[in-house]
């Protein structure tokens, strides 16, 4: 990727976001909070919007349009238009300066309002994530999902300059905003820095949680404590330290919720910003479709109420117009993924299939995937479905991995969220209509998400992460209700529980750093991931078939990211073997199937029995260094019929007919 083009993209997007924020989004009473979130949403909307447009061209015409150079040209053109027409907005520049100073004032007041415990917590959160990010930069991207598909899809998209699916495995067909983000960064930054790039999304997430807390009527210090505490929830904290899509998804969902719930319901910019952010959230995590529907309802209700003194017909029109504006903005940021899946699978929300509803539209079902029949997955976290109601206090895990990106809610959550839900229910009796409305919307958001999560059956804690956007502001409200001793007690409960969880995060990161780098000295990429160094030396464009485990997909792209990789699941399916999470025991290598995959190399464990079909020979070209079962890299040689006469006597192939390490 052209480095200059990549830099130009972010520069032009930043310029456009700043320009629009200054010209069209005048700061109102809460402008200092809204403007920063608006800037973040606009920056992302321009960034992703440009790539969506190029991806759309690619999908429709087949032309390889997804290139940073074209994105830079498009954004540059828009920036030029903004510059030429810039004078019209000059009058508001002074207002933007006022907003910036207001922002500093807000930060000063929030900090000044904290007592010792609150300050310790804020500093500890910042220090923990800065230290963790620094440790991440020593290594390479981690996490099961990121290595299995987010990052491979990222490189695939920029290798093929298009948004067509990598392969037809169901997890590779989800919307892939995260992959676009990482793919772009891979062309801009060293892989070391990209491995810590997801931490950045914590900032807008905490900011939107803070802003929502303020909207409930809570004061700045209580909102700050609640937002900082949210960063210590293990599923959020550990997700931010992997190159996944969950944290970015809820960061955009938080921004969407802020503009939909706290924005002026009759202001078009607020409705559009909510829609843009919601569309982006869907692109990171399609599960946020539930929240998109919820926020659509919120906007319609709030606009209806805002226009309610008018005749019912006019109020309905105002509500419908708001809903349409919101939906248009959502589609602007998500339609490319819907179109892609429609073109490839005849189902815009593939692989999701909702029984008769999908059947009514004629939307295809993903073979072997039924999201309504995944009830057994929950038993990784609970022993019976009823245990979910005490999960925050029990945190059981079948493999003992209680705290990781997909497990654990932590001490801060247990100490604050369930009490906040109870107290907020009581708070619904408040005599202040605005407070009552805020609590009702937030409780409805929590309730809806939990109900859908429960009904879908695929109950994994992180699939409920979107609920934090509605639950944490309730915590801020609850803390903000108290004064005197009760308030000080709250501060210490929040501080002790959150700092304990930060200790968990820091100890895990610190141990991994010390063990991997100081003890095992895994400084190089092949040592870090445990693959043969020969993978890094393959000619550009080599196609490596992964026959080890799904997370090895990412490793096989090599240090320069110029290999092609055949996904482990897809490869096994293509070779007629059942997909498995663990390395297969035995695989038959059919020449025709390997040719169809375009395979030039194969990575398999030394113990995997590779049964050679006619017309295929393998030559070992490298193996990992280590004591036991090792990944071995083979070169694939295709032989025509006339070449196969002496095949049985070829040492390399005959050796492979039996297990190498029986």
């Amino acid at each position: 990727m052209n480095l200059l083009a990549a830099i130009a993209v972010v520069f032009f997007c930043g310029f456009l976001a700043t320009d629009i924020t200054r010209r069209w989004l005048a700061p109102g009473p809460g402008g200092r909070v809204a403007l920063a979130l608006a800037w973040f949403v606009l920056l992302a909307a321009f960034f992703f919007g440009t790539f969506f447009l190029l991806g759309f061209v690619n999908l429709v015409t087949g032309w390889p349009a997804l290139r940073p150079s074209l994105a830079a040209a498009l954004d540059g053109l828009l920036a030029l238009v903004a510059l030429v027409t810039g004078r019209r907005g000059a009058a508001r520049a002074g207002a933007a300066v006022a907003a910036r100073s207001g922002f500093r004032e807000e930060a000063r007041d929030a900090w000044g309002g904290l007592d010792g415990a609150g300050r310790i917590l804020t500093v500890a959160v910042a220090a923990t994530f800065i230290a963790s990010a620094a440790m991440l930069c020593a290594g390479f991207p981690r996490g099961y999902e990121p290595r299995a598909y987010h990052l491979p899809i990222a490189v695939h998209a920029f290798q093929t300059h298009g948004l067509r699916v990598w392969d037809r495995e169901h997890m590779d067909t989800f919307p892939a905003n995260g992959s676009l983000y990482y793919g772009y960064l891979m062309g801009l930054l060293p892989e070391h820095l990209v491995s810590a790039s997801n931490v950045l999304f914590l900032a807008p997430l905490l900011f939107s949680l803070y802003a929502l807390g303020r909207w409930t009527g809570s004061d700045s210090s209580a909102s700050l404590v609640a937002a900082c505490g949210a960063a210590t929830i293990p599923i959020a904290a550990f997700s931010s330290l992997e190159t996944g899509a969950d944290v970015a998804g809820i960061a955009f969902l938080g921004a969407a919720a802020y503009f939909a719930l706290a924005g002026d319901p009759l202001a078009t910019p607020d409705v559009l910003l909510a829609g843009l952010a919601a569309g982006l959230a869907f692109g990171f995590k399609s599960l946020h479709l539930v929240s998109v529907a919820f926020l659509l309802g919120v906007i319609a209700i709030r606009r209806w109420r805002a226009a309610s003194p008018s005749p019912i017909r006019r109020a309905s029109g105002v509500a419908a117009l708001g809903a349409c504006l919101f939906l248009a903005a959502v589609l602007a940021m998500s339609s490319v993924w819907l179109l892609r899946n429609w073109m490839e699978f005849r189902n815009p929300i593939y692989p999701v299939h909702v029984g008769r509803v999908s059947d009514a539209f004629g939307w295809a079902k993903a073979p072997g995937v039924d999201y309504l029949e995944r009830g057994a997955f929950q038993f990784e976290w609970v022993r019976s479905p009823a245990e979910w109601f005490v999960y925050p206090w029990i945190e059981w895990h079948s493999h003992g991995e209680n705290f990781k990106h997909s497990s654990g809610l932590g001490a801060f959550f247990a100490a604050t969220v369930p009490p906040a839900l109870v107290v907020s229910l009581l708070g619904l009796g408040s005599r202040k209509p605005r407070e009552r409305e805020a609590l009702a919307f937030l409780l409805a958001g929590c309730g809806l998400l939990f109900a859908v999560w429960w009904a879908l059956g695929d109950r994994q804690p992180r699939y409920l992460m979107g609920g934090l956007v509605y639950a944490i502001p309730l915590v801020a409200w609850m803390i903000g209700q108290s004064t005197g001793r009760a308030r000080r007690a709250f501060a210490w409960v929040a501080c002790v529980t959150a700092i304990f969880m930060l200790g968990v995060v820091l100890s895990k990161q610190g141990f991994e750093f010390a063990y991997r780098f100081l003890s095992l000295r895994q400084w190089s990429r092949h040592e870090f991931y445990g693959y043969p160094a020969a993978v890094d030396g393959l000619p550009a464009g080599s196609t490596v078939v992964n026959l080890v485990t799904p997370p090895d997909n990412w490793a096989l792209f090599g240090t320069k990211h110029d290999n092609r990789v055949i996904n482990q699941r897809w490869a096994l399916r293509a070779l007629g073997a059942p997909p498995t999470e663990t390395p297969p025991e035995s695989v038959s290598l059919d020449g025709a199937a390997l040719r169809r995959l375009g395979a030039t190399h194969i990575l398999a464990l030394s113990r995997t029995r590779l049964q050679l079909g006619p017309g295929v020979a393998l030559t070992e070209v490298g193996r990992s260094e280590g004591p036991v079962t090792l990944p071995v890299l083979y070169r694939v040689d295709y032989r025509e019929a006339w070449q196969r006469i002496g095949e049985a006597s070829t040492p390399a192939t005959s050796a492979l007919r039996t297990p190498v390490n029986p």
Partner: protein
């Protein structure tokens, strides 16, 4: 946490912002909230498998690092 002054008085987004002094009209609710919160935290530390396993893991990890 001390009560905020200027920023709180000026108000949250849309000017709808209540200072703690205004919302603390229900001291019963406030005491209930903090009691629930403290109780919930205590129950968590006593019953969480995550805490137990992490402390065990921490001891093991320290031993592993110290002894290679």
């Amino acid at each position: 946490m001390k009560r905020n002054s200027k920023a709180d008085a000026r108000g949250a987004p849309n000017g709808a912002f209540a200072r703690p002094v205004d919302t603390a009209l229900r001291p019963g609710l406030s005491v209930l909230a903090v009691s629930l919160s403290a109780l919930s935290a205590v129950v968590y530390f006593l019953s969480s498998n995550g805490v137990r396993n992490h402390l065990r893991w921490l001891a093991h990890a320290a031993w592993k690092l110290l002894h290679g």
